[in-house]
Amino acid sequence: MALTSQHARAATVAAVAGLIALPYAGVADFYLSYLYVVFFWIALATSWGILSGYSGYWSFGHAAFFGAGAYTTATLAGRWGVPFLLTIPAAAGIAAALALGIGWVVFRINTLRAEFFALLTLSVTYVLAAVISNTPIDGGGGVYLSNVAIPQLGTTVPGAIYLLGLALAFTALAVSRRILRSRLGAGLLAIHDDEDVAEVKGVPTLHYKLVAFAISSAIAGAAGAIQAAYVGYVTVGETFSITVPLYVVLMSILGGARHWAGPAIGAALITVALSLFVGGGHAELGRAGVALALVVVILVLPEGIAPSLLGRFARRRNSAPVAAPTPATASEPGNVVVMKLPAVHAAAGRPLLTCRAVAKSFGGIRALQGVDLQVEEGEILALVGPNGSGKSTLINMISGHFPLSSGSIELHGASIDGLAPHEVARRGIARTYQIPRLFNHLTVLENVRLCAFFGGAPDAAGESPDALALRWLAFTGLEAKAHVLPPALNLHERKFVELARALAARPRLLLLDEVLCGLTPTEVDHAIAMIRKIRAGGTTIVFVEHLMRAVVALADRIAVLDQGTLLALGLPRETMQDPRVVGAYLGAAHAA
């Protein structure tokens, strides 16, 4: 494995060196310009993928950022005589600033769906085009850059532009690859699958989307700067045409938008295909051909070329050396597991979580009306009540999913209400969902690892997210499914992946929302044993449950909710015999 990656690195270095040498080896300008166009589209498509491919927020406004870059260079170099090379970072900066401004507006709208984002970015293109053509930036007549001196870097001007294009394409690919393998990339992929859950698991979604948008746009801006020098004359019509978003979207889909190399593969294929048409003098036909390809690819190959190609490659590589994974002994919940105590561990009996007069209204419906509740460090508290009594709402309030209408929530005496869900997660609160909400395009292991990455405080013992994820998969008996995608799991397994995800976040407080519902009696026994083990490791647990057997077996105390108020709170037996509780469950007649 190490050998192949070394080989790959050597091959990359050799290829790049070869490409750099081309203009110095006397290759004709025509070919250099041709290759520049390929590099230009590779850079543009790859930059688009950084936000849109990874996070699923598809931008149709890439032309706006590309155009902002082109006009920055046109203004700085063409009108004010700033040296051309200096305008490239300026163009990148302006484009990134524009993206941050737009992102700041649109990403903070929680209800904004991906389609709105696509249309809004498309709109921005038209707005920017109108502004530029109506102001002295362009004035409607276009800007000439013929007087701009382009440093020749020891070759010809086309050679220098070729080198700049090469550098930009290489940078874009390196940045995109680096991001995909970092926390940022993991977070973006999670946002793609389920943004709300990503946020609850500790991904700072707003911050990540903004960063990705800025990086993506900066590269597009730099591409605009170089392209302005290449064409020598920029016009609003050409710069802000629909061609740019059309091509980058198609290139990315064709190649595979969720892989760092996908957009580049698509870009190379399409640019070459187009040049064949243009060479024959049928530019319009080429455009129609690209459009037709877009339609066919989305209908037939929605995941793109790269994933299926790489999938085949990976299968071949996997089938040879690795023996079939040993079937996990799933019957006994991980006897090897030793829970690490959380970093901050106070003596038992101190309140960990304090809810004061927590109230929540949805329009006219008062889901919670003033709930006071304390959860002691190290206890297991069951939250029971009839359907619609506000149990899940309370869980959602604690995890930061909904803002409070009034009241306060404190963790270890520090207020956590009003914090973004990812901040709540960072402070050590993890939750599961009643209906499992897994990231469907990430494997089981990746799902759990992501939560280890983002949840809780950094582990003092320095256990890597990978090790942590594997440990909790073993605990829940899911090692054999580590490399399976969630849609292939049954309900029981999906629930346990939910649990493993929550545990991997190293929570101080674990909120379980009906983890047992829908399980068979044996599976329930198994799960009860598991929850006991989790508490034994020092985690405080609040769980919502309808299954009384499990409630009595697990809970130290029971809190009963009814119609949004706390009806009773106390030891299990006494609380369940409280006439008011019986009344709430079975009706007044039985309570008497």
Binding site: V105, I109, E115, L119, L120, Y126, V127, I242, L250
Partner: protein, 282 residues
């Protein structure tokens, strides 16, 4: 600026808003009820406009007669397109990309058949206008507005007052549950897709009569009309019409009072302000 000029531009904007509303109607319904974002709606409308133009200038056929040909043909075309979506189970997002591709295809077709030059359909009614005091109301635009209002009210009544419309809304809200109650969602969706395309045909006839045609004009409408759709609220016919009027009047008054070149900014500024303010109906 005189009050008369202001009122005149407001009337112009209101009538322009009718065409916005007419285009937005089909988009809003297919987005809200079929979960398909049909970008090719604009291209279809322009194809309809070019057909009307061709039939009128080459064969001398009156626009309202052309409409009798174009509208049923588009109804069928809409159903055919929908068959493609159903066959490949296209998601909401993918539908936008597919129809983006179709838009470019139709645009290329138009450019190939009619060239990229600007075309103007001289129909004879173009100059006709009513006079109300000091104000002029152009007859064609008024007819377009009346037609848009009629269709919007009909769509609203259809969705809220008929069993078929309620079934459509139920199927859009939760397909499997609606199906369990005996609603044949697929058949209804074909009907709605056909009707949406037919409305694009009607819009096309009026576009041919009231504006200058060029393939590149297709893109010019996309941004504004989508702003109208979002402001009006998905699957709300009357909302689309009202939003169309709001945008039309704002644009027109900006043109008269500030500078025509800034008009394209108006729709998006309103949209962005509304998205930030987020009233409940959005």
């Amino acid at each position: 600026m005189g009050l008369t000029l202001l009122a005149q531009s407001a009337i112009g904007g209101l009538l322009l808003g009718g065409i916005y509303g007419l285009l937005a109607l089909g988009l809003s319904l297919s987005w809200g009820l079929l979960r398909l974002v049909n970008l090719s709606h604009f291209a279809l409308a322009f194809l309809g406009a070019y057909l009307t133009y061709q039939l009128g200038t080459q064969f001398g056929i009156a626009p309202w007669l052309s409409a009798l040909v174009v509208v049923p043909a588009f109804f069928v075309a809409g159903m055919a397109l929908h068959a493609l979506f159903v066959r490949f189970q296209v998601s909401e997002f993918a539908s936008m990309l597919v129809t983006f591709g179709i838009t470019i295809l139709i645009e290329s077709l138009i450019q190939w058949l009619w060239s990229a030059d600007y075309r103007r359909f001289e129909s004879g009614y173009a100059q006709a206008s009513l006079r109300i005091g000091p104000l002029f109301v152009p007859v064609l635009e008024l007819a377009a507005f009346a037609c848009a209002a009629l269709l919007a009210v009909a769509a609203w009544a259809g969705l809220n007052r008929t069993l078929l419309g309620k079934a459509l809304r139920a199927a859009a809200h939760d397909g499997p549950i609606a199906a369990a109650f005996g609603i044949n969602a697929t058949r209804l969706s074909y009907l709605l897709a056909g009707l949406c395309a037919a409305s694009a045909g009607i819009a096309g006839v009026f576009i041919a009569l009231t504006s200058t045609l060029a393939p590149s004009q297709i893109e010019a409408w996309i941004g504004v009309v989508f702003a109208v759709v979002i402001i009006g609220g998905l699957a709300r016919p009357l909302g689309a019409l009202a939003a169309g009027c709001l945008i039309g009047i704002s644009e027109s008054v900006t043109m008269a009072a500030v500078n025509p070149a800034w008009a394209p900014l108006v729709a998006f500024s309103i949209l962005i302000v509304l998205l930030l303010w987020r009233p409940r109906w959005l």
